[in-house]
Structures are given as C-alpha cells and as structure tokens.
Amino acid sequence: MATEQFRIFDFIFVGAGISGPFMANDLVKEGADCLMLEAGKAYTRRTYPTNGLDGTSQMYWSGGLELGHDAKIAFLRPKVVGGGSIVNQALVDRFDADAWDSWRSVSKVADFSVDKMAPWYDRAESEIEIQEIPAHFRNKNAEIFDQGFKNLKFDNAPLRRAQSNCRLEEGNCCIECLNGCRLGSKQSTPETVLKTALENGLTLVPEIEVTHISEHKGDIRVTGLDPRGGQVSYRARNLVLGAGAIGNARLLLNSGFEKKLPHIGKGFFCHPQFMSFGVYEEKINSHLGAFQAFKSDDKGFRKEGFKLENVYAGPEGIALLVPGFGKIHHEYMERLPHFACIEVCTRDTNPGQIRVNRKGKALIRKVQNREDLNRYEKGAKVIDDIFKSTGAKQIVHGRFGIGLHLMGCCAMGTDPATSVIDPEFKLHGYKNIFSADSSIFPNAPGINPSLTIMALSKKAAASILRNR
C-alpha cells in the first residue's frame, strides 16, 4: 500500500461498481496507470455471504437500508467491489427513444439518442453475456405475471439478463444470487470487465472509503479512510468519480465543490419501487427457480410513467414489508410459500436532493409529489387487477417504497449553473475530473440504468482516450 501512496497514477477511480471497472478496463488496455479505490469489500464466489442478514449488512452502506428525511422510501446503496452488478437482478435494457429524448431536453446535450448510443450499447453488450430465461424455466410467480397480463390485455416481454450459465436445469434458484452469484453466472463487473482490467494492470484497493479530493498543482489528491485506522492519500493526474449518485455527490460536497458548482446534489432520482403480494390458495413458491422472467412492455404504462416487474425478495425483506406485528405478522409470513409478487417501478418526476451534514454524512431528501404518487397508484391498481384476475385470495401492499436505481446529483448539461458534468463527461471547469455513472443522469429514465451506465462509461473512456 505504501508504494501506491508515492506513485502518481494516470487515473484514480473512486468506486468499483459498474462504471469504474468499465472505464478502467478500456483505459488500462491503452496503457494508463490506474488505481481503483472502493469502500466495500472484495468478495469472490467462495466468500459471498450466504444469508440475508450477512448479505444486507455487509454489502450495503449503513448496514442495509438508508432512509430519507421522511422515511417513506428506503434506499439500498451497494458497498462492495462490483457495486450494483453484484446485488442487482442483472436486468439489462437499453434506454428507449423516450428516455433519450427527455435526457436531451433536460441536459441540452445533443449527443444522446437511440441511434447515437447504439454503438456504445453494442460495445457494452460485447463485454458481457446476456440471456433470456427460457420459457420452460419460468416459475409460478412468472406465470402469474404473464397470465395476468394476458387476462388484462397488456403487453409484456421476456427479460434480458446479464448471466452466462445459471444451470437452471439443476434446480438453482436465482434468489440466492442477490448477495452475489456463487455460480459466477451473473455478469457482475468482478466476473467480467474488472477481471480483465486487473489482468491488464489495474490496481484495486478495496475497503478504502474516499472522503476528500483536492487539486494540488494540477494533480488530484485523494484522501480516504483506512479500515485499519488513519488516513491514506493517493495522487493522480486524473480522477474518475464512480461512486454513484449519493457517493459522488457526498464526495464533491465534502470537498467543497458546490461553491463552483451549485447544482451538485440536486436532481436526485431513484425510480421508487413498491412491491405488492398476491396471496393464493395454492403454493406459488416464488423464491424457487428463475423468479424473474418478465417485464411489462406496455406503451400505456410507459406513458403513465411506471413499469411492472416480476420480482421477489428474501424473507427478511418481505418480512419488513408486510404490515403489523405479533400474530398478524406471523400469519402473513407463515403463508409465504403462497405469495406471488409484482413490483411497480415509477419514473419519478420530482427531484430529490443529497446534502451532507457536519460530519460529512449524506442526507437524502426525496419527496414523491402528487404526480409521482399518481404513477405509483396507477401501477399498484394494475397489479391488484392482475392478482385478482389470477385468483389471489388477498393482496398485500408493501409498507414502504424502495429506491435502488440511485441516479442524478451530478447531472450532465451544458450550463454549470444547472448541471455538474459537461457533455464530455468532465466536471464543469475541470479538465481532469470525470464521471460517467448514474450520477450524471439529468432525470429519471424509467428504465433500469445498469446497461446504460456501461454504455456511457465506454463512451466516456473513448472520449478520454481521444483527447489524450
């Protein structure tokens, strides 16, 4: 470690989630000397936690859930080498025309559209394997989703997932992969681009929480907390921020950048998601097999600003969402095998904001306005109809929303007064600070962000290499 502290790197990456490894992979290939710092731990297939308690407490910030000021939405912010790609459900979707149109209109950056991004999506997809769950491996929860859509004449589509070989024929259950995929099938960055980046000379130091960045004679100095106590600092010619919406905002705010860039922390979006459960007479066993095979693909839903997902969660998550306590709680949970689950994911319009307190801790302020609530209610109504049309005896709405697509706070744009990142992925006014992760989203796209983060990172890396 000591030697790294005296070295001047070409690039330091803050965060080893999705964006950082995708960019670093392309940069080290061209000979750049890169250091990647990550607050979370590095796990391997052999060391992923095997129960929900260890999974949530070890792989997320704050030991699991973070709450906003009104505690109506719980935020899940991964803290692990591989970030979201370790703990997500590996859905990979391109943004549609609607998403890019709104991106352009908010950011005033002309460079983003379905066509212009297509080559970057192609390149991102070439780094990972993408599969659909074959029809005969869909579990009963997926069948209910599909049947409900058919009954109500809505359109759905099979999901594209970043996975290589789940060997579902052996009876594997995807739910087990939410704390890291022990099969190595999920195409997380440590299984893909991070692996090749490390082979090509990237230096990765996990368990360093970066707390401060500063410019020093044209170089960037990065200070972090060493888990063994004390501080460590590193130097580089360039810095890449890949700590996500909250992480990047917090770091920039704590480092005093808001004086020049007042928009830092503003424009926070999170696609608030709400799970609903249909309780059936027969056993559904939603946790078995490939539990997530479908997504809604309905033009009407898109217009209304929500989508429905065929999902499930671990028992400790569901236990938190069902109402009541005592005997009532037990009654719900004892019927768990009879639960089917559908989630409404809303495209939020009302931006939230990240601030930091005196201790430097991130404070989340995120309110769902009437429009956002309408979107949720419309989606929840469709879910109720699906459950009813497929014979559910009871419907349970989750007690609170979950925010896990954490986006914005360092929005891309042309005006430093209303944005943070310029069209070339640089921090406004800085030649050597970059970001291409979900923090640069100018608004909520309404589509799962991970594939787009990969594509943007590829584009940013190419832009850096071009200008070198």
């Binding site: 704050s62 022990r182 946790h287 028992p315």
Partner: protein, 653 residues
C-alpha cells in the same frame, strides 16, 4: 435460552433485554413459528451491528434501552402507531417510520436469516416459511467450508490448523475488551450453575472421587474463581500510570496490560474441571486465545466445550485438544504458542520446558509437592488432627498440595497419633451419589501402582502402618494409611506419593521442625499449626515453599486473591490473584513525550562541555541529602537544557 447467555460487543445487557422484549412482541411465536427469543437469533445481532453507522447504532441502543423498562402495552402502542404512521402529520410519521424500519430491521433480519443460538433444536424459521432455495454450485464455486480439524489426537497438520484458528481468534477476543469478555465469564458461571449436577456426574465418572470432594473443590472453587475475575479483572487490566522521575520531567509513563496471543494450557487429572476452567478463564479474560489439553485419564470429553458454547464462546477462542501427552505434547509445543502453562508432574514439566526452550516460548510450571504439616504442642489436637486427615486424604490424597509429611511435636505426639488413627478409621470410601462418602477410590491405575511400590518398600524397611496396612496393593480402593517409622531411605519419604499416605514424624524443637519440613527438592505448600501465632509466622517464613496456611491446611488456594505457585522443583511462576493475574499478559511499558522542537540531552551530538555538565548533574542529583540535590539538580538540569538548545541551533562549535 436464558437472559445471561446474550453477549454483544455493541449492545449492553440491558439494551439486549429491551431488544428481546420488543422481539417477542413483534415475533411472539405461534404454534408453527418459534418466538424471537426462542430461536436465540439475538446471538447474531453483532453480525449486523458491526456494519451499522454510529448514528444508527446509537439510535437502536436508545430504543432498546428505553424498551428495557417500558411496559409491554406501551411498546405495543408505539408499534400500533407505527402501523398508522402514514395518517399522521409528516414530522411525526417520519420519526415513527424510522423507528419501525430500524426496529423491525434489527428484529426481523436475524430471525428470517434462519439464525439460532448454538444448540437450538426447535423449529427452524426457514422450515416454517418454506424457504428452501437451491443452489448447486460447481466445483469452482463451492464455498469452502472450514477444513475440519481433528481435535482428538491431532496430526501435525491438525495442530497447525488449530493454531491458525487460535491466531485468527486472538484479535477477535482482544477486540471485545475486558468488560465484554467478562460477560462471557458471567455466562460461563451461569452455565456451570445450571448444569452442576451433570458436571458432577461427569466428574465422578472420570475421577471416581466422592461427590462432596467434587462439589467443593471443582464446582465451588471454580465459580469462586470466576467470581473473583468478574470483580477484579477490569481493575487489573486497566492502564496504569507510574511515576516519572525528575530527570524525565514533562514526560508521562504508563503501563498497559495486553494479551500475549495464544496460550497453551496443559492440566492434570486430579481436578480436571477446576484445572480446566480456571486457567482457561484467566487466559481468556486477559484476551488470549486458548489451546487446552486435559489429561487423557480424565478428559471430561465434550463437557467444557459444551459449557463454553453455552456461554457464547466461539469455537476458535478455546480449542480443547485430546490425546496422550507423550504423543501430542511435543506437537502442541511445536505449534508455537505464545505462552505455555502446565500443571502436572516433574517429568512432564521437564519435557515441555525442554521442547519450549527450542522456540524460547515462556513456560510456567505448577508441579508436585511433598508438603509438610508442622504441628506444635499448643494446638487443639482434635482440630489439628481433623485438618491433617482432610489435608492428607481429600480427593484420596491426589492433590499436589495434599499433606505428605506430618510433623508433630513430641510432647503431644502420642495423643495426636491416637486421635489421628481413630478419626482416619471413620472415613467412608466410595464413589457415592448423594454426598455421603468422604473419599473415593484412586483415579488412575498408574498411581495405584506407584503407591503399591512405596507401600511395599516401606513395609520391607520396617515402617509401621497404623491404618490401611491390610491393603492388597492392587485394589483401586487404596485406604487412607497413617504410617509411622518412615526413614530417609524409604521411597515414601523421598517421593511424592499422590495418594492417601500420611507418614507421621515427631520433632523436639522449632529449629528441628523447620529443618525437617524443608524438603531439599520440593516447595509447593505447607501448613503450620500453633496457638502462638508469632511462632507460626516465624516458621512460615523459614519454610522454603510457595504457600503456607497457618492453623489450616491447603487453604491458600481457597482465596483466589492469593497467588499460587511453587519454588524449587515444584515449579515456578505464579497464577491466580493479582500477582498471578499477569501470567498471560504482556505488561507493556509506555513513555509519552510531546512532539516538539526540543532535543534531548542524552542524544547526539556529544561534546566535552555537555559531558561536563552531565557529570555535574549526576553528582548533584544523587549526592546524599533531600532538598539540596534537588536544587542543584535543577540548576544543572537547566544549564544542560540551555546548552542543548544552543547546540541544536548552532551545532558543534
């Protein structure tokens, strides 16, 4: 599960009790589901707490602490309010939602992660909720299980793994801090109390000793020691300030007490429970990981592990290794513990010390004794005789501090002998179930043989057996034997007998008593009996030994504030009490100075002028007198300091 079994590095007992209460309100259990407290998942709270932010953790602590004394109906009311938080004004609703999510998260997560207390055999939560997802991992992805280690007669590879585990456990134990470590000790106490009868059964099965011997020495004694640790360990392990002399003015001196790392403890067969728990507990409380080897004659297999597990100890903290000392003793030393503590015989002590010397591992040895009891003419004969009988025959004489030589003043010799014989004959010998027997049979065959040899030798050389002379030399039921006419050439006079043999001698004067009592080899303990306490004290000081009881016998061990250990070939080092507490500690010296521009007088450069001032200072400070040396010392000290400053600025001229 009982309350005292919970230990957490992050929550106090009171907070945990509050959590348990709230846990049972949220998860009271049904016919199908176990309750929160029944599963014992509370044992796993730290797995979550470790990763919480300090703010969240403090919030939970506050809530748990509040629940500790809050009536259940109030907690239920709060939870009901939480249920309706969306209907409340936003500022109240937010607080309640945070409370609900925090509290439920803390309670539901360990419960629904299917975690239970060690030894839980009730319904598993995963079975109740039908949660059985499958994951067939390929060879590459098989999560490595801990390599199973054979603790029974381990191979060299096993031993390496055992020490590896201990090494890993060391920092963990140390991190708990002494107060939290003592919570484990409290739990252990509770576990021993709760299982007392079972422990006694196991002890009697292995040692055959009488139940009363077992309860007094092994249960009562052990609990008393743990109690002593609870009351004193924090004080003993607290950092201490020590004075800093005048010459080092402006600096601070402190002593820290830290664990050594891994302690190897080897115990004998005579008190297998006490000699297991006491050294284990002491080494652990100081913060060490422990490898413990009980005697292969009385292994009490699985008992100590079970009690430790019940008290919340993790398997790596204290590992108990079984096997013959001669086969695994060297291996265990080769594993390079940081300290070896052995209670046992001379030959074993020698062998272990020799092996340990190769690695320069510090050893502490508590070996045998040939303990004298000196009875003067002014004693209460009944009491002294009863004391002699108990001291010689308790645990059938198989104690390292049992009376092995009884010296009685000639003036009362005959009367004393008469009482002694009469009372000895009344002893009841059996492995009883109800506490009605005085002594049991012998524990090991080997010891029966050793005693037979001593008895045959003594008979052949003309000793007179006042009791027990009819023993056949084979039966385990070696009767208590009071023997007269034992001479220097007899084995019984020279060797430790470790059985119910009591040679009786008479003496004429205090000087002769001291001479006779002072064994050339051993020096573990002794007792002196006299009405004249001054005389008794005089004699106690003159006996070359580690422990002396006056007007009592084997009683220094009864007070755990006293150190224990021998001199001569009875071993060295002390354990127990404050002086013995540090047997497993690294006593670390700390000197603190300020960061400044100041240079020290004793550092380079050396110059002739500095030499002169320093020499003046030395003379001034240490010349006779009280005030004057101080004043002159201050003068030269100042002069030296001024000169050093000048030197620092201008360098050597």
């Amino acid at each position: 599960m009982t309350d005292q079994m919970m230990i957490s590095r992050y929550f106090s007992q009171s907070q945990l009790k509050g959590l348990l209460k709230a846990g049972d309100i949220i998860l009271p259990g049904t016919q199908a589901s176990p309750s929160f407290s029944a599963t014992g998942c509370i044992h796993h709270m730290d797995r979550m707490a470790k990763y919480l932010s300090e703010d969240d953790l403090n919030g939970l602590r506050m809530v748990f602490a509040a629940f500790r004394w809050m009536p259940k109906w109030k907690i239920k009311l709060i939870l009901k309010l939480c249920n309706h938080s969306s209907r409340l004004p936003s500022f109240m609703g937010a607080g309640l939602r945070m409370l609900e999510i925090g509290l439920k998260g803390a309670i539901l997560s360990p419960y629904y992660a299917n975690l239970t207390a060690p030894g839980y055999d009730g319904k598993k939560v995963y079975d109740v909720i039908g949660w059985h997802p499958k994951m067939v991992v390929n060879e590459d992805g098989i999560p490595v299980k801990q390599t199973p280690v054979n603790l029974d007669t381990p191979t060299p590879e096993d031993v390496a793994e055992i020490y590896q585990r201990a090494k890993k456990a060391g920092p963990e134990i140390r991190d708990w801090g002494v107060k939290k470590r003592l919570e484990f000790i409290s739990n252990l106490k509770a576990a021993i109390l709760a299982n007392q009868e079972y422990i006694l059964d196991r002890l009697q099965a292995d040692t055959k000793k009488s139940r009363f011997d077992a309860i007094t020495a092994e249960i009562f004694g052990t609990l008393d020691f743990l109690d002593y640790l609870e009351k004193n360990a924090v004080k003993f392990l607290s950092d201490r300030k020590v004075p800093t002399p005048f010459a080092l003015m402006g600096k601070k001196s402190k002593v820290y007490f830290e664990p050594l790392g891994t302690a190897l403890l080897i115990s004998p067969w005579n008190y297998p429970f006490y000699q297991a728990i006491v050294p284990i507990a002491q080494a652990f409380v100081v913060g060490n990981a422990v490898v413990f080897k009980p005697s292969s004659d009385t292994p009490l297999k699985g008992l100590v592990e079970a009690l430790l597990a019940q008290a919340g100890f993790l398997p790596g903290w204290v590992q108990i290794v079984y096997g013959q000392g001669r086969t695994i003793g060297n291996l265990l030393v080769d594993g390079r513990p940081d300290k070896i503590f052995l209670i046992g015989s001379q030959p074993v002590g020698k062998a272990i010390m020799e092996r340990a010397s190769q690695y320069l591992i510090p050893v502490e040895l508590e070996l045998g004794g040939k303990d004298p009891m000196v009875v003067f003419e002014d004693v209460n004969i009944e009491r002294a005789a009863a004391g002699a009988i108990w001291g010689a025959f308790t645990t059938t004489g198989q104690s390292c501090t049992s009376v092995e030589r009884l010296f009685v003043h000639e003036e009362i010799y005959e009367r004393f002998k008469e009482t002694l014989v009469k009372e000895t004959l009344k002893l009841v010998q059996a492995t009883d179930e109800d506490g009605n027997a005085d002594i049991g049979p012998m524990t090991t065959k080997a010891q029966v043989k050793a005693i037979a040899a001593q008895v045959a030798d003594a008979k052949e050389k003309g000793a007179v057996f006042l009791t027990g002379g009819d023993w056949d030399g084979k039966s385990d039921f070696v009767p208590p034997m009071v023997v007269e006419g034992v001479t220097k050439d007899m084995l019984m006079d020279q060797e430790e007998n470790f059985g119910p043999l009591l040679p009786l001698y008479s003496f004429t004067s205090e000087a002769q008593a001291i001479e006779m009592a002072n064994d050339p080899e051993y020096g573990l303990s002794a007792s002196v009996w006299s009405q004249d306490l001054k005389r008794a004290d005089r004699v106690a000081r003159m006996i070359y030994t580690g422990n002396v009881s006056i007007n009592n016998v084997m009683l220094t061990e009864g007070n755990h504030a006293l150190p224990f250990g021998g001199v001569g070939k009875s071993g060295f080092g002390r354990y127990k009490g404050e002086f013995g507490f540090y047997a497993f500690a690294n006593i670390k010296a700390i000197l603190i100075d300020q960061n400044s521009a100041k240079m020290e007088a004793n550092w380079f450069p050396y110059t002739a002028k500095k030499y002169q001032i320093f020499s003046d200072l030395t003379r001034a400070l240490y010349s006779p007198g009280r005030i004057l040396p101080l004043i002159r010392g201050a003068f030269y000290g100042l002069k030296l300091e001024t000169y050093v400053k000048k030197l620092a600025k201008k360098g050597r001229e």
